[in-house]
């Protein structure tokens, strides 16, 4: 029985217990600086930021950038014109999605990552399979670094959650950066200011 064998070998070979270090905490810059840093980082990693005053502004963006025949998916109740889905569909049915927009929990300034969980996705594969991806981030919900991020996530329950930082990318061919590897070709952040 491998389980017993492995556990016995581990117990036998592990060194004397050392303690965990204290949690790291760093001073946070002002809210304005944090927002500025987030915008700078997400732009650097290939995303774009559009500042909006209300969720209806997203409808304008969509009508300016997409055609009526494009498949636009949204779980945001405020966006009434776009297809909502139950989550019971086969994930394969999401294949021809041109644009999908999601609510998110928060974003991180130091790396441009946005934290989103399964309940906000409708379906786990949607943020990955859509050709173009957009997320709504409230300006007040941007934290400075990953330590602050995990303070929020620490006790959160989810089946699946992910940090997404920019469009899908690869540099596997001679280190040339190409956007749009397998996941979304672009990432738009709708930064909701109040």
């Amino acid at each position: 029985m491998s389980r017993a064998q492995i556990l016995a070998a581990v117990l036998n070979n592990q060194p004397l217990e050392t303690l965990l270090p204290a949690d790291l905490e760093f001073d946070s810059p002002s809210k304005d600086l944090v927002i500025e840093k987030f915008v700078e980082t997400i732009t650097m990693i290939g995303g774009q930021v559009i500042k909006i005053k209300s969720l209806q502004d997203i409808e304008n963006y969509i009508s300016e950038n997409y055609l009526p025949e494009n498949r636009i998916l949204s779980q945001l109740t405020e966006l009434t014109n776009y297809y909502k889905f139950s989550g019971d569909e086969s994930p394969h049915e999401l294949e021809n999605t041109d644009f999908a927009v999601f609510n998110t929990h928060f974003a991180v300034a130091e790396n441009g990552a946005v934290w989103i969980t399964e309940d906000q996705m409708g379906h786990r594969v949607l943020p990955f399979i859509t050709q173009h991806l957009a997320m709504v981030v409230k300006a007040e919900n941007i934290v400075a670094n990953m330590h602050q991020a995990y303070k929020i996530i620490e006790n959160q329950d989810y089946g699946f959650g992910t940090f997404i930082a920019g469009p899908s990318k690869t540099a596997d061919i001679e280190q040339s950066l190409v956007l749009g590897a397998h996941g979304a070709r672009s990432m738009t952040i709708f930064l909701l200011e109040n």
Binding site: E154, D157, G161, A165, A181, H182
Partner: protein
């Protein structure tokens, strides 16, 4: 078993001098990006120290963490398997697929499955495996193993990749534009993701406290595979555990900054429960790790988070290429992990280093890599696993260095020879002459100079 060793394999790589220079420059460029990212964070050294201490705690409490992880993962609905070695790991994967009558699998990057030679095993047993990471797909088409743990086809020119795509994916002859080739792979692999019922991913971190695991990719291939398949199998080495979810803050800050200079991977996905109607399995693999845990001098190597920084900085790796290490994990870290698996087979690897310490300096979890390389050399020599030539050379050195008279005389002869008969050292028989010029000999030794000038 592969009996060609690092010196011979790097000689093959060194036949094309231009390619060696290009390989060297590319990796140094990535190392420079790593420096820029690391220097951009004032608390970088605090992060490294903290990560190292967390990993110390993991190794010292691994037994309990494994038990905790298993219980939590099971409570989350994940099926947990244990594999003592590569063979058992491969058998578990095969049996899971056979139970569901699945003959095709899509795989995202996992160095552990490279270590276990899973692809060959599954193919022999009638399972078609497609690697979905672009770099891995490219080396798979070329029927080669990856040459780097983060950049699997770093050794390939875009023209060669274009040729592979022309032969296998139907691109036009002569196309080598990375944008077009990536788009071709995107379309080809979308078709794969949508038709495979099984997906296998690696694991970057697994959390004892919650029973979830984290997979980091830039391309999104792990997610595309896992979220579309009926069955998701995750393979992880037992050392990948970390105690608590909050510790990810430290490791995710270090991982990609060390690897490619990015602030974080595009996707850092936390898999906690299978989705409705899906099966999720995790295989906890030992394959020599518990043995390494018991070797006090080498257990630190189990802290590795597989960023590849030690390879990018290593002057030997950059000029000899990943394949010269004839092991799934190349470079300095591979050279301290491999002898644990098979000391005879990999006795050459701890010598494939200058012991300059650059690897240790960039390691995000502060593994004492160059010290371990040095320690392995001593173990390997003691066990008699060095070549006859090296053993003889060491005996001659021992004879020379153990007597001041003999040492002085040898120096004199050496200086005279280089000056008056350079052809006796500047030739193929002298290994030090390979790919470099011999230095000019000084006129006198230090002790001669000191006598005159004291």
């Amino acid at each position: 078993m592969n009996s060609i060793k690092h010196p011979e394999l790097s000689t093959i790589f060194n036949e094309d001098e231009e390619r060696v220079n290009w390989h060297d420059d590319t990796l140094w460029w990535i190392r420079a990006k790593r420096d820029k990212a690391a220097h951009g964070i004032s608390e970088w050294e605090i992060l490294r120290e903290t990560a190292s201490q967390i990993k110390d705690n993991v190794l010292s409490n691994l037994h309990q963490y494994l038990i905790d992880f298993e219980a939590k993962a099971q409570a989350n609905g994940i099926v947990v398997h244990w594999a003592a070695n590569a063979e058992e790991h491969n058998k578990i994967v095969l049996s899971l697929l056979q139970k569901k009558d699945i003959h095709q699998m899509v795989k995202s990057k996992s160095m552990l499955t490279e270590e276990c030679h899973l692809n060959e095993y599954l193919e022999k047993n009638g399972i078609d495996v497609i690697d979905s990471d672009l770099g891995e797909r490219i080396v798979q088409l070329a029927k080669e193993p990856p040459s780097h743990i983060v950049l699997p086809c770093i050794h390939k020119k875009k023209e060669e990749i274009g040729q592979l795509f022309h032969e296998h994916l139907g691109t036009e002859f002569g196309i080598s534009d990375p944008q077009i080739l990536t788009e071709t792979a995107r379309l080809h692999l979308r078709e794969t993701f949508l038709t495979r019922r099984s997906a296998l991913t690696g694991v970057n971190f697994a959390i004892a406290e919650t029973g979830e695991f984290v997979v980091c990719t830039n391309e999104g291939n792990a997610d595309m595979g896992a979220h579309l398949a009926d069955i998701h199998i995750a393979s992880m080495g037992i050392e990948k555990l970390i105690p608590k979810k909050k510790h990810l803050s430290v490791f995710l800050r270090l991982l990609t900054r060390s690897a490619t200079g990015q602030p974080i991977t595009t996707y850092s996905s936390h898999f906690k429960k299978p989705r409705k109607g899906q099966e999720m399995h995790i295989i906890l693999v030992d394959n020599g790790r518990t043995v390494q845990l018991g070797r006090a001098d080498f257990r630190n190597s189990l802290k590795c988070i597989r960023c590849g920084a030690c390879m990018n900085t290593c002057p030997v790796y950059r000029r000899s290429g990943g394949h010269s290490y004839h092991n799934a994990i190349a470079g300095p870290i591979g050279a301290i992990l491999a002898p644990n698996l098979d000391m005879k087979e990999y006795a050459d690897l701890p010598f494939a280093s200058t012991l300059c310490g650059s690897c240790t300096n960039v390691c995000p979890v502060k593994i004492d890599i160059h010290d371990q390389l040095y320690k392995w050399r001593q173990v390997i020599v003691k066990e008699g696993n060095t070549t006859a030539a090296k053993t003889m050379a060491m005996k001659v050195m021992d004879f020379t260095l153990s007597s001041p008279t003999r040492y002085k005389l040898a120096g004199k002869i050496g200086r005279w020879t280089i000056k008056h008969a350079p052809f006796t050292v500047n030739n193929k028989l002298n290994l030090w002459f390979k790919n470099r010029e011999m230095p000019e000999a000084p006129k006198e030794s230090f002790s001669e100079w000191f006598k005159k000038n004291k």
